[in-house]
Symmetry: C2
Subunit: 415 residues, 2 copies
Amino acid sequence: MSIPSVDASRMKADFDALAEVGATPEGGVSRPAFSEAHLAARRWFRQRSQAAGLETKVDSAANHSAILRQPGATRTLLLGSHLDSVPNGGRFDGALGVVAALEVLRTVKASGIRVPVHLEAIDFTDEESSVFDYLGSRSAVGGLDFEILRSTLRERPDLAPRISQAGVELDRIASARRDPASLAGYLELHIEQGPRLLQAGAQIGIVESIVGIRSHRLVFRGRPDHAGTTPMEARADAGLAASAFNLSAREIVMEQFPECVATVGRMTFSPGAFNVVPGTVEVTLEVRAPDEVRSRALELQVLEQAKRDAAGFGCTLDIAPYGVSEAAPMHTRAQQAIQRACEALGIRWLKLSSGAGHDAQMLATVTTTGMIFVPSVGGISHNPREFTEWSDCVAGANVLLGATLILAHHAEFDP
Amino acid sequence: MSIPSVDASRMKADFDALAEVGATPEGGVSRPAFSEAHLAARRWFRQRSQAAGLETKVDSAANHSAILRQPGATRTLLLGSHLDSVPNGGRFDGALGVVAALEVLRTVKASGIRVPVHLEAIDFTDEESSVFDYLGSRSAVGGLDFEILRSTLRERPDLAPRISQAGVELDRIASARRDPASLAGYLELHIEQGPRLLQAGAQIGIVESIVGIRSHRLVFRGRPDHAGTTPMEARADAGLAASAFNLSAREIVMEQFPECVATVGRMTFSPGAFNVVPGTVEVTLEVRAPDEVRSRALELQVLEQAKRDAAGFGCTLDIAPYGVSEAAPMHTRAQQAIQRACEALGIRWLKLSSGAGHDAQMLATVTTTGMIFVPSVGGISHNPREFTEWSDCVAGANVLLGATLILAHHAEFDP
């Protein structure tokens, strides 16, 4: 098939204008969900969509959409990402996906191409978990846990007015759910946030899955002895047990679990004095794996090792699960559509998993979902220095456009 | 020589009475220096000394003394320890040494034995470093750093009135210095605070030296990457570098430095989140060795290893010295006097070094100094459960008495 191209300079103008909203002195943006800058970015998106002659919509979870209706279509193919950022974040994370989705709709509209599904560019609410992680996409797939939401709102009475003012309708947020039968799929363009595409010399990443994340708090318990009077061999040093575990968790991953990671982000020593053997050390542990089989196997193996490392230093171990996010495989048909688009455009691609979470993992639970990555220079992420070459952004948008057209035509034969 | 014995039941009555002062529900005492309980314990000591017909004295560093004068003597043999405790500490640490010193003076007085030196039981101020470490014994040896004292008092304006009220005369504290020519020596009975005497089946420890302590703050600096998107091999994880160092410091000590210890009491991870590779980890490091040669060699070797461990994980290392306390060898003549007393009494002794600091390390810089240890059950220290069998306390007091008489007679031939 022949694929039209996006208007690279129009898209650049959009990208640059958006980067002004919440711009920071360091060259990034700071648009935490529900902040003034975030709301301004969403207003900007609505205005640009209207200026392009697209229908706009805000649902009860404050997800913002621009819609290109197709006569006779009954289902909708979603293209999207998010306009919120972490505090003091970069210009590309999320924003690129929304700008590209809008540009794809404009390009299709201008080209006169008819597709059998409605196209909707969507900006999901609070992808960066400023208040409630994936509030927008979770609501869209009907996956919101109302009990957790209610208890969050009870604990932080400042939240309800803030998110209501931002357009979230708490009393009817359930209505943000999209009927899966009404959806033809979801495609998201995003920066990689890691170094692999550049290392492999590929311009596009086809995401095979979004990793599963399993987190635990581990507490190593030894004995807080006097550091001067307790010989080395008489100690039960929780710091040594935790240190040994940190190293062995890494070894397990590197030797047996390629494509996975394990991270000890924090150890807290108690009592924490120069001259007292640490009696208790609390450790945060997070493992990520591209699929649930490896996610569970890795979790099991590092926890068993933690018990051995504790025992090896005369300590005991408490394990408290902290959180689970299941691995989300991307749909084969979506991956194929992205791959065909790359091949039609002559762009080098690489299949990889996403180590970070995305709205796509929510959408994947209900519809044909795919993700397109573009390279991040230095793998830098959540940082004002986050950067993607503009040519790669354009390539990403063109692949998004191509995959959209391919998936849209497929979609009419879908059950 | 024949050695008289202390009055064990009189000493027990004293010990129990003193343990009531600042007693805690857990069975210990809480008498931080300059607290109400501490001052009450010192009043109790003065009253008991006066009741025994001893001269009493308080110097400008608030050191409290009971003196048994000997006609014609020009020099003084000091016997002492401290009545302050750590917050929520035990009944034996310090208190035993003061009670035993008082009992030795009473026993000598009652026995009618004449020795060629004055005997002085002394309770030094703030051994546990509640305000200013070793304030009393440091002042007694003329080792007080007035600049540091002044800056401490400037930083904490509440201190000066508190310590003045406790008898410290800040404007003439220099006068607390004892002329070394006026001293015949210093002997201190103390609990071991460690497990070695009981392990060796010895009732008395003859301290060969008080360990040297060298402390550093180490900062391992890596890169705080996204835990999801940064593969293991692309990380510069400061937590792994610090963990590796913790283990290798232990290995260096255990393989090459017997009788020494190395302690990492605290690691502080930054940014310290579940999902961020730790970019910076600050580590407290303390090494202790019985002599300065090993103290310096151990310090050098672990710091060199820290650099290698940092580099091994792609990190850099900052080293900031935090404190030095030089190893204090006990005087050979004092050790011999203690050994002869043990042998005369038929008591099993063991030579060992003190892993904890004591007032004796101050006195050792100016006079013939020795320390006598008695066993600590379970090696428990700075804890209400700290415990020494009463028979061991009595044995310790008798050895203190014997060593006093031996050293006192030696003393007359001293230069």
